[in-house]
Amino acid sequence: MNEIKGEDQAVRRIALAFGVSTLAGLALALVYILGGNVQAEGVLLALSLGGLGYGLAEWAGKLMSQGAEVGDYEDAPPPGAEEEVAGVVSEGWEASFGRRKFLFRMLGAAAGAMGLALVFPIRSLGPSPGTSLLRTAWRKGSRMVREDGQLVKATDLAVEGVLTVFPEGQTDQADSQTLLIRVDPDQLNSPDGREDWTTEDGLIAYSKICTHAGCPVGLYRVATHDLFCPCHQSTFDVLDGAKPIAGPATRALPQLPIEVDEDGYIVAKDDFSEPVGPAWWDMNR
């Protein structure tokens, strides 16, 4: 008696679920025709799929025979079966390849040579690294421009101002992106040999590519005079040769030697002294 009542209720619930699913499906079509809306589509899809899912689960769970059936796992192989198969393999091998060692070696040579030849097309996938990682587009006398190509004058930057710059005509050269910063020249502590890499009024230029994993070093924090990379939080001391002071970076940001030309534009005195960006195996060779 109770069972029948339980079944009746289950049937009602399942019917309701399928009913909801049907309505949701029709409503979905309507939403689409009216122009679509991501929330409505998501919810209606969920209802139409969920109604089906719930109905079927209930059907299987309440109205079909349940568990406790017994089956068998695969038996272990009969003894000797493995030796038999192995025997067939080695017999065939001996009868064909084993007897003709010379031919078999020639076959190996041919297959090996073909395999080798098939590896070569992989070389087409990219250029040779060559010296491309060692150099950027900066040259002696390159004038600095902003991202939009506008030339940069020494007077463009106030103290603590910062600008992303490229060599003139090369704004698409991602490895040449450079940060131009104006600091108080009295605070600046240039590493030996770099005293004349900055301008007299405190303009200094560092590669903008993080030496850790190559993200653009996006943030200049004026209060502490450091450059902060948002990717893994490497921090570089602008007043002290952009040496890393926190985070995983191990190398300073390479510095670009700069000067002001007679027209007041900022120019590079040379390329960066070291490779920019993340390190690799033989970068110092």
Binding site: Y32, G36, V38, Q39, G42, V43, L45, A46, L49, G50, L52, G53, L56, A57, W59, A60, G61, M64, S65, Q66, G67, E69, V70, G71, D72, Y73, E74, R123, L125, G126, S128, P129, T164, A174, D175, Q177, H212, A213, G214, C215, P216, G218, L219, C229, P230, C231, H232, P244, A246, G247, P248, T250, G277, P278, A279, W280, W281, D282, N284, R285
Partner: protein
């Protein structure tokens, strides 16, 4: 009868009766945790379905265009055709956005379910003989899943995905000896790699799903052949399997599970925005989005990169750069240990017998403790992937948070491992609460109070 006719038609040509009889009568053991793999399969199907829809509209091209679509904040902005087509899918194509969001949500859940599925197999010892090969196939599926995720969210060519690719390239570059060549061949040259989008596209929509499909088939075929493991219980032995028959109950339940999985994903996709690339803007190699975080399943690698101290190997003029250790050594070791685990364990336990019955985790304290220790290590790494978020949330200095997490990465696994071992030892051998065994019954006594009684007494 149509059924009879169909069966006859097929049997006369393909001899299906023997096989089908066995199949229809097959018994599947019931346990909620056995459904995880099934859910992963359904999520994969959803990914394929929505993915096909998306390919009809996505254009994997780096060609520069000027946006003129209906999303006004970006009008007039220079961007790649790939990014533009993604905006079109989101704003122009009817029901495009919901498809995109279903695809992304399904991917997030797919990897989550794969990981939990793997943990289930690990902690219950389902990987033991005779199922080591399927453990290997399963791990490879997880690896492919991670690659599918990474290649997928790198496709939109927005600011976030560009940052991820940039870091991936730097990690490849850091490999000793072959790094530069490998990076140049995989990415097609020096950053910012002209045609990486089209390359990733083929990888994402053909190579990886193809490989996943093949291995999935193999995975299922092996389960079919070896039959599913089961927890110990009444009548369940190494030879006898107890559960539900394939037809009709199990089949209908499986169908229900598919629809319920799909329903969950679509609900998430409708209500919770995911990867709104129009907010990040198009990729620009000189810019970086603040607080960039990868999808959750790469969080452990991001965290490892952040926790790694400023340290690298320099000797004889050669360098093994810093990103190599967290970016490649850690995942490399992780997966190698996982692949070898069935054999490592068998070596220590000297157990070479085949097993169809599962372990309860408490009954194998060492494995469970090692598993929990490992898991807590990756959890710390995962949390470290959001160290800036934590610092902001609790108003702590970022460096302190990082240092704290560096300590935790070693301390937590140790503590958690030892604690787990203790708890397992404590619980070992206690019978599980299944509801099958007689419990206590509360009865009302003559004077109106209550007492518990053994069921026999009632």
């Amino acid at each position: 009868m149509i059924v009879q006719k169909t069966v006859r038609f097929l049997d006369e040509r393909l001899r299906i009766t023997g096989f089908s009889k066995k199949t229809l009568r097959r018994v599947f053991p019931d346990h909620w945790s056995f459904l995880l793999g099934e859910i992963a399969l359904y999520l994969f199907l959803i990914l394929i379905g929505t993915g096909i829809f998306l390919t009809f509209f996505f254009s994997p091209s780096a060609r520069e265009v000027i946006y003129s679509g209906s999303y006004t904040p970006l009008r007039g902005v220079h961007m790649s055709q790939a990014y533009e087509s993604l905006l079109d899918i989101s704003f122009e194509v009817r029901s495009g956005l919901v498809m995109r969001q279903i695809h992304h949500w399904a991917a997030l859940l797919f990897l989550a379910v794969l990981v939990v599925h793997m943990l289930r197999v690990f902690f219950t010892g389902a990987f033991r003989k005779p199922r080591e090969l399927n453990w290997i196939v399963g791990l490879t599926l997880l690896t492919l899943g991670l690659l599918a995720g990474f290649s997928g969210y790198s496709l939109p060519d927005d600011l976030l995905s560009g940052t991820g690719l940039r870091i991936g390239y730097s990690v490849a570059l850091s490999i000793p000896v072959v790094g530069t060549w490998l990076a140049f061949l995989v990415f097609g040259g020096e950053f910012p790699f002209g045609n990486i989008i089209s390359r990733l596209y083929v990888i994402h929509i053909l190579l990886i799903p193809g490989a996943i499909g093949l291995l999935l088939g193999l995975h299922l075929a092996m389960v079919w052949r070896q039959k599913h493991t089961q927890f110990p219980g009444p009548m369940r032995t190494e030879q006898k399997i107890v559960g539900t028959r394939m037809w009709p109950t199990y089949a209908v339940k499986a169908g229900a599970l598919f629809f319920l999985t799909a329903s969950t994903v679509t609900l998430l996709a409708g209500l919770f925005q995911i990867n709104p690339v129009w907010i990040y803007g198009p990729f620009d190699p000189a810019r970086v989005s603040a607080g960039a975080q990868p999808d959750w399943y790469l969080g452990w690698l991001e965290g490892a990169l952040r926790l790694m101290p400023a340290w690298e190997v320099r000797a004889f003029g050669f360098t093994i750069p810093n990103p190599f250790f967290p970016g490649l050594l850690i995942p490399g070791l992780t997966f190698n240990i996982l692949y070898a685990w069935p054999w490592i364990e068998a070596k220590f336990t000297k157990d070479t017998a085949p097993h169809n019955l599962l372990n309860r985790p408490r009954d194998v304290p060492v494995r469970t403790a090692l598993g929990v220790a490992g898991l807590s290590f990756y959890t710390v790494l995962f949390v470290a992937g959001g160290n800036d978020v934590i610092a902001g949330l609790f108003n702590l200095p970022l460096e302190r948070v990082t240092q704290g997490l560096q300590v935790m990465a070693f301390a937590l696994p140790l503590v958690a491992g030892i604690a787990t071992h203790r708890i397992c030892k404590e619980l070992k051998g206690r019978p599980p609460k299944t509801g099958d065994e007689p419990g206590h019954v509360i009865v009302r006594t003559a004077d109106g109070s209550y007492e518990t009684a053994e069921p026999e007494k009632v």
